[in-house]
Structure formats: C-alpha cells, structure tokens
C-alpha cells in the first residue's frame, strides 16, 4: 500500500470514529488516536556479522534513510544516507537463528559513538599523554611504509610485530600473508575471551584444538563446571536457544542441569542444582563421578585417547573414591554418588567446562578430566553430547591456532627487540596484571601503529592511529568455530557508508603492502578486501552448500544476500587423530599466590555480562543495562557472602579495599548469597583510564591486582590464582535497579 492510500484510509476511519463519536460525545476524545504517528517506515534489512565475541553470530541490520553529518574528501557536510537503526539476528544463520544477545544488539552504538577516532591521528605530545593531531591518510600511510622499508633495508624484518584479538577468516588470512611475505613473525593473539587451556585439552583428548559445541537441545543431563554458557561463554546465543529446547521443547522430557562453581553466575542461577566445591578442584570432582560410574559399571569402561591421559583410569581411578574426592573438594561423598547415578540414568549426558576452573594452575588437568568424563558418558560426537563444528572445505578458511600467544611472547622477553608494533583490536595494557608491565614494555617500542576506533589504554601509546571502519561500515568475513553443526562462512558487505574519515583495516594493510612493493605486494595482489573476499568465496560455489547457483556472479550476490555460505546439515563426529605428545596427568592441587593467613580470600574476577573483558564498557546501553544478578548499573562492585561480610563488619555500599601481594583496588561492596565464604568475586570490564566518555574513570579493574601465576603446561594466565584481603575504607553508593523502582527517598530529602 502506498503511503498516500494509507493516509486516505486513516482519514476515513478517523472520520467514521468522529461521526460515531458525535453520538456519544463522552467517547470522542478517548477514541481519537493520532494514526499518522503509527505509520511505520519501510526499512531495508541487510545481513551483517557480529564481531564482538568469538561466537560470530549472523546479523540483520535495519537500515533507514536519514541525514547524517559525514566527512567526504576531507570536508564535513550533511548528506542523506542509509543509517543502521537496529541489529537483530539473521533468521537463517546456523549459529544464532535470528536471535541476538544484549551485547550484540548494543554493538550498534560503536558506529555512532561520539568518541570514535574520526580521522588518522599522529601523536603530538609525550607518549601516553593522549594528545594527538589529525593527519591525512596519504601522510600517515607514507610514514608507516617508510618505517617498514627502513626495517627491510636493515634486514630487521623480524622486528615487526602484530598483536590482535582472535582473528578468523580472511582478515586472518590477510594478516598472515602480509606478515609472512614481509618476513615478520606470525601475529600474536591477545584475547582474554579465548580459552587456550580448553583448546589445548581438546587437542590432547580429541585431536582438535578448537572450542567444543554442545547438543543441549537433545541432552538428558548437563553438568557444567564453571562455564557461563548462557551468558558470555563460547557461543552463548546458540547455547541459549538449545537451552530453551532442553527445558520445554520436548514435552515430558525436561533435562536436569547442574552447575559447579564458587560464585553463582547468570548461568548457574538457572541450574536445578548448584554446587560449590573448593576452588580449583573441579577436575577431581569430575573424576569422582567417573570413579562411581566405573566402579558400579553404570557405563561400559571407555578406553581411548581422552581417558588414557588420566593417571589411574585403567585401574578404575582408585584415588577418586567419593570419600577421597570429598576430602579434596568438600562435596559430600553421598552427593557425588547420587549425581553419578543420576547422570548415568539420564543419558545422553554431557559435561561442560569453561571459565574459572580453567584459570587455575591446574586448569589443564581440570579440562582433561571433564573431557574424560564425557568420553565415559559416551557423549563425544553423539546426539545430545559434545561435538566440533565442521569447517568449510576451502583450505584458506583460516584459524588462529598457528598464532603465538601475546602473553608468552611478552613473558619470554621476546617483545623487546620490536621496532614496529601494529595493534589491532587488542587492549593488553588494560586487561593484563599490572606486574606484567605491559605498558612499560610497549613504551620501549620505537614505533606503534594502532588500527583502533577508540583511544583506549593501549592505543594511547600509539604514535599513529589509522582508524578502522566500524563493523557495520566494513566488509566482514568470519568462520565460526563452535555453536553449530553446519560448516559456516559468514560474509557481509558494508551495511552503511562510513560516517568519518576512516578506512577498513584490511584495505589499509593492502595499501601499505602495495606501497612497500616486493614480496609483500606480490603476496597480496588484490586491489581491495572485497576482491580478496570474492576470490576466497569462489571455490565454495561447487561445494555442498545451500542451492549453489551455477554462475559465479550469481553465487557472489547470493552469498551476500543471505549473509554467507553454509553447508547442509551435517553432524560430524569428533576427530580422533592421536597427537604426538603423550602426557599423563594426575591431580595437582591448585597453587595460589599469597598466604592464606594474611590473604584469606580467593579472588575470582569473572567475565562481565555487559562488558565481557572490558571491550564493551564504552557503550552507554551496556552501562545502563542492569546486571542480571546484582542489578548494578554504571559501576563495578566486589561480591562477598553475607556471613563473611558480617565477620569482617562490613556491609553493602561500604567502599572496600581489595589487596593482593601485587596491588590494590577500591570498589563498593555488594553482599550476595550466591558466593562461597572464602571467595571474593568481581566483574571484569570497568576501571578504564581511557575509553571514551562513558567508561573512562569509572569503577575499578580487577585484572590489575592479579598475580603472575600461569597454568601448568600451557603457560597462559591463571587468573583465578590470586589471594586477597578485604578491608573497609569508606562509603560508596551503587546504582541498583533492584529494591524498588520508585524514586529513592534520599533524593526527595535533598530537594
């Protein structure tokens, strides 16, 4: 219907209403509603890809015409353009089937954030001062090129370093090709949301260094060790969709869900049974369950790679009788007996591990123990169990496993010879323990280039900022590693034109490579990223996908239209290639930094529902979203059990000092019943010094006081291994959404 016709109709109905209204004057006012306010706009929906966490959900962007102030050819002006108005899930995307989490939806605010870097910037004051001046793209790219050519002419190509959050798909491929053609070491990954310990365990147990996926929709029993799989962990939207089915999707068959953790997470809040063992003993508890199942022959004994990694498995785990496990974990022997019986009686059952249990010094043991339990339950590669997302057939789909870990490079002192550092989407200055001295190390690097859209703590040290487009303004390409049983390549054209004088990082890198010439230019022949993507998608046309059109051009438009390529539904059994390295692990108690006598509490930072590791703290929608459990808005808090608070004579809204051997922080106290007596918990994400107006100078950052403890075998940060003390230093005030929605009386008194 044309708008004009609609107006006619509404005028007519309006007239009728008025006429009938004349008969009953009292109703006239009540019935008349300004219909013209209710004419909805006609939107275009464009597919896109969410880049905010490793899940890689598919998006649909609602685009409407509007007037925007933009920079074109270096000049500011107002133009009419398509503007992204809302983000929803792509209904056909095999990861998220039209659904989207709170964070993904708030991603819209990145594009329109008032503190985005709007043009290339050059440092104009001392390093870290935050003073920059705008420069042109030509100038800044020339500067980078001359620095890099200088390295080449001095045979110092290996002193170029690239640090990035987990990269996937063709962005990954581009960076890999660039670095290897230039002669630089592979990119370093810095991503606090990555689970290197679990991926290592999966490599050892199942021959695949990837995150697992879970068939929760068809399972009969779920036990999760610390994984916040409905909130922030792995592929939360895919897992939440399946969770709904597991609860109410099968009439008469509602699976049981048990959560094991010391501080009740949003996921744990939904459990049928919640168990808090001693910190770091989750693996021992998993083996206690396995012991009962083996001893009482509830399941046939499994003998394969996953179980042969565990010391004593073939002897029936003699050291993990319920009584011995009770002594290690504090979980009563009878409860372990009961859980094991329940599990075996409600197959298919699946065990999940993620988050804090992997962040103890014995994290790898905990993960291997849970993998072995899954094997015993017969859930690996089976319906209702654990599986790995199949990968697309094209060989260049890319993964991050070849990269080195930023922390291990840093801690080995190998960052010191770096002459030029390229920084993409990573903020290691913010999200690392202060004792690692990342800021000081980066300070010694002569030339730092950031592709950041915001001047965060790490970009603040840059000599040059070459701002990337926002994701909605970019060509996007991603290959999800978990959350679906279909091979997926997500692809999207820009949903809108750029607002500012920014450039897509891949295009900037291509331009730099072309100007350097030589090997780098040869390895990256594409004019722009779009060309590279089109070339990379071409082989998928003949692969077993959804209705592949016969001609390449049509295929290219079709994948853009639907937001990518995905295979027909295939469930792939877990690969069982035997890795070279054999290690047999036995329970090692977790090590902690700090004596129990002076530092009585385990300090457990956790991934924030709103901000993840802190990368989303700049979004006002996330700041004002009440945290599900604490209902806090705009702040950080320190969580403690009411009985512990009573003992320490502290109460809610006291300002407390949390002190470890390596630092201290101040934050308001939140008394919460869902936390063990000897644990102090705190969400990550706040405490930014520099991250736009909504996040800067707000709250405290728990990462700063962590001890430099490492997970055995993998070397990654054991961020649950710090002990702390807590004391009251004053009063504070949390903004809570709970406790009544009326204006606070104190406010009325102030008037």
């Amino acid at each position: 219907m044309e708008r004009r016709d609609f107006l006619k109709v509404s005028v007519l109905t309006g007239a009728t209403a008025a006429l009938s209204g004349c008969e009953k004057p009292a109703h006239t006012l009540v019935r008349f509603i300004p219909e013209e306010d209710l004419i909805p706009s006609v939107a275009t929906w464009k597919p896109s890809v969410c880049t905010l966490c490793p899940a890689g959900c598919g998006l649909m962007v609602r685009v409407l015409p509007g007037e925007a102030e933009v920079v074109r050819n270096g000049k500011l002006g107002t133009i009419q353009m398509g503007l992204a108005k809302k983000l929803e899930g792509n209904p056909n995307h095999p990861v998220n089937w039209g659904k989207l989490c709170a964070r993904g939806q708030a991603g819209l605010q990145i594009t329109y954030h008032p503190d985005r870097v709007r043009s290339p910037l050059k440092r104009s004051g001392p390093r870290g001062s935050g003073s920059f001046q705008p420069v042109t793209w030509e100038e800044s790219i020339r500067e980078v090129v001359s620095k890099l050519q200088e390295l080449q002419s001095q045979n110092q190509s290996e002193s170029l370093r690239f640090v990035s959050a987990c990269l996937r798909g063709q962005r990954h491929e581009l960076v890999r090709k660039f670095l290897s053609a230039f002669g630089a070491p592979a990119a370093m990954v810095f991503d606090p949301l990555d689970e290197p310990v679990l991926r290592q365990a999966n490599l050892l147990s199942f021959g695949q260094a990837d995150m697992p996926s879970f068939d929760l929709a068809h399972t009969g029993y779920v036990i999760s060790f610390g994984a916040d799989f409905l909130g922030t962990w792995n592929s939360p939207v895919a897992q939440s969709i399946a969770y709904g089915e597991m609860r109410q999707g099968r009439p008469g068959n509602r699976a049981k869900f048990v959560q094991v953790e010391q501080r009740m997470s949003q996921t744990g809040a939904n459990a049928d049974e919640w168990i808090a063992p001693r910190a770091g003993t989750e693996g021992a508890m998993a083996l206690g369950l396995a012991h009962v199942i083996l001893k009482e022959k509830l399941r046939p004994a499994a003998d394969n790679k996953a179980t042969r990694l565990i010391a004593g498995w073939s002897q029936g785990l003699a050291e993990y009788s319920p009584e011995q496990v009770e002594r290690k974990t504090g979980v009563p022997a009878q409860r372990i007996q009961r859980l094991a019986h329940e599990m075996a009686a409600h197959l298919p059952a699946v065990a999940i591990i993620g988050g804090l249990p992997l962040a103890h010094t014995n994290g790898l043991f905990n993960a291997l123990a849970v993998n072995a339990l899954n094997t015993l339950l017969g859930s690996v590669g089976m319906p209702g169990g654990l599986f790995f997302t199949p990968q697309p057939p094209s060989e260049n789909a890319g993964s991050w496993s070849s990269e080195s870990d930023f922390a291990s490079v840093l801690l080995a002192g190998k960052l010191d010879g770096t002459k030029v550092l390229l920084l993409h989407n990573a903020n290691p200055v913010f999200a690392t323990p202060a004792v690692w001295k990342v800021r000081e190390t980066l300070d010694r690097i002569p030339f730092i280039v950031s592709f950041g859209s915001f001047v965060d703590e790490t970009s603040q040290l840059a000599d040059l900022i070459l701002p990337d487009h926002s994701p909605l303004e970019s060509w996007l390409h991603d290959v999800p590693k978990s959350g679906t049983n279909q091979a997926v390549v997500s692809l999207a054209a820009p949903a809108m034109l750029p607002l500012h004088d920014t450039r897509a990082m891949p295009d900037t890198l291509l331009e730099i490579a072309h100007q350097i010439g030589g090997e780098a230019a040869k390895a990256l022949p594409w004019e722009n990223f779009q060309e590279m993507l089109q070339a990379s998608m071409a082989p998928l046309r003949t692969a077993d996908g959804i209705n592949p059109p016969p001609d390449p051009e049509k295929f290219w438009s079709k994948v853009q239209e639907q937001g990518g390529w995905w295979s027909d539904k295939v469930r792939q059994a877990a690969r069982s290639a035997i890795p070279q390295k054999q290690l047999v692990t036995e329970f090692a108690p977790p090590q902690f930094d700090g004596e129990e006598s002076s530092f009585p509490f385990h300090f457990q930072p956790y991934v924030s529902q709103a901000f993840l590791d802190g990368s989303l703290a700049h979004l006002p929608w996330m700041q004002e979203m009440p945290d599900a459990l604490s209902t806090v808005m705009w702040g950080t808090w320190v969580e403690i059990n009411p009985k512990t608070a009573q003992k320490l004579a502290i109460e809610q809204d006291d300002l407390v000092e949390v002190r470890s051997q390596h630092g201290k922080l101040l934050a308001p106290l939140l008394v919460s019943p869902g936390i063990a007596f000897d644990v102090v918990a705190m969400p990550m994400g706040q405490g930014h010094e520099s991250f736009g107006r909504y996040a800067s100078g707000r709250g405290a950052n728990p990462m700063t006081i962590l001890a430099p403890m490492q997970v055995a075998e993998t070397g990654s940060l054991a961020w649950a291994s710090t002990r702390v003390q807590v004391s009251k230093v004053g009063k504070a005030k949390l903004a809570l959404f709970s406790g009544g929605l009326f204006e606070r009386p104190s406010e009325l008194q102030q008037r």
Binding site: M1, F6, L29, I33, P34, L38, P40, E69, K85, K86, L87, G89, G98, K99, L100, C101, A102, R103, Q105, A106, L108, Y112, H113, P114, P236, V237, S240, Y243, R247, Q248, R254, F257, M264, A269, N270, D272, W274, I275, E342, H346, W621, Q623, E624, M625, P626, A628, L629, M633, W634, N641, S672, P673, A676, A735, F737, S738, G740, L741, R744, E747
Partner: protein
C-alpha cells in the same frame, strides 16, 4: 474478529540474559540517564528482569522474571488519568498518548507492576548517537509518562504488510522487539482471540499464572512457572 494481543513468559526457558532489555531500548528510543540519576531511581526500562534469591549459601536458588506492562484488560492506570492519555485500544493494549499527558503520574501510582516511567528530563543523545533513533517511535519530552506499548509500531507494520499481500496475519508474525530477540524463546507473542495461536495455547498451560492475578487486573501477559526437576520426568 479483532485481535487481542497477549504474551506468554516461560520462566523455565528464561535465563536472565537481558537480551530483551537492550532490544527494547534500541527499538523504543529509551534514553540513558547516567549514573547519578540511575542512583536516584530514575532509570527507564520498559522491560526489566527481576531477580529473586531464595535460601542461603550453599543452598541458593535464583528466579528470574522479566516484567513489562501486563497490558491489563482491567487496567488500574486507565481510569485515573484526567486527560485520557492512558486509554484502552481496540486490540487490548494499554495505550499512552504522549501529547495528552500532563504528568500527574496518577497512572504510575495506580499501576500494580511499576512499569510506568516518568521523564525527568528532555531526552538527549551525544551526537552522533542520535542517528540510531528509530523514526517509528516518538521521543518523549520532559514531564510525561512512558511505558511498554507491545511495540505497537511493529504490530502495525506487520498488519500493513499482510494487507498489502492480501492475506491474514500469521501467528507469531508481529513480534515486539523483546520477543524477537529472546534466545531461549521464553517470550511468545500473539493473538489471544485466536485459540490456536501459540500464545493462547501457552496461556492455557497448567503452569500459567497471572502476575498479582488476585488484584483482578486481568493481564494479557501469562507467566509459565519454572519446573522443578524430579527423577521421574523422563
């Protein structure tokens, strides 16, 4: 037959993920008020996730409950409005005509569910955040009340599309932003006048209850109680 829009909230599916809260914010141009005003209880959330703790450590249980306007059939907010700003639509919604509202806040006092919010300020967005605003939803000025509309603009839009294509609305076709986003499908929306619609079937569930049903407000929102696990339910 006219539609009567209703919602079912399955508390056994709800995980407290807050996707609905942000979806509502994005769809309905809800302003952010900042920390100081939030502390004073002036934050606006047309839908919220309430959280209830039960028990003491280690036997702690939590219940999440999303609460939005219950779109009562017998709404306490409507008769108290001196300017007919709160009115009942033909399709069963508790409407709010912003340009009639004079901010007496009687409706907020009368409402049993605390889902009506007063605008203490004119809305403001730091530029260019204003470009995210949804043109289908009017901005509310200082001094007036606002509330959940069941995303009436999305209902209208679906109705117009169906009319254009000369067909009836499909069950589940109009979906408020919260329902559209909900990952575990805890929120279901539809026509209560259609006995075959999913929302009607859920509203008849044995687990179904009305929030503060004893008050006689006759809400169009039904809550489905969370199930307890027991060994026999396989």
């Amino acid at each position: 037959m006219a539609h009567r829009w209703g919602m079912a909230v399955d508390l056994d599916r709800c995980t407290g993920c807050e996707a609905c809260v942000v979806a509502c914010r994005a769809e309905n141009n809800i302003p952010s008020v900042g920390e100081d005003q939030a502390q004073k209880g002036r934050a606006i959330h047309w839908i919220r996730v309430e959280r209830y703790y039960e028990g003491e450590f280690p036997d702690v249980r939590v219940k999440f409950q999303p609460v939005l306007c219950q779109q009562c059939n017998n709404a306490p907010c409507e008769p108290v409005c001196p300017t007919y700003a709160s009115y009942h639509t033909d399709e069963g919604l508790n409407g709010q005509v912003y340009n009639r509202c004079i901010g007496t806040r009687y409706c907020a006092n009368a409402c049993s569910y605390t889902v009506r919010f007063f605008n203490f300020f004119n809305p403001a967005w730091d530029k260019p955040l204003h470009l995210q605003l949804n043109p289908d939803v009017s901005l509310r000025q200082v001094g007036i009340m606002e509330k959940c509309t069941f995303c009436v603009q999305r209902i209208k839009s679906a109705e117009i599309r169906a009319k254009e294509e000369k067909r009836e609305l499909r069950d589940g076709e109009p979906a408020p932003a919260c329902v559209q986003s909900c990952p575990p499908r805890a929120l279901v929306f539809g026509d209560l006048n259609d006995p075959e619609s999913e929302v009607s079937r859920l509203a008849r569930s044995r687990r179904g209850v009305k929030l503060l049903g004893e008050l006689g407000t006759q809400p169009n929102v039904t809550y489905l109680q969370r199930n307890e696990w027991n060994d026999n339910n396989t």
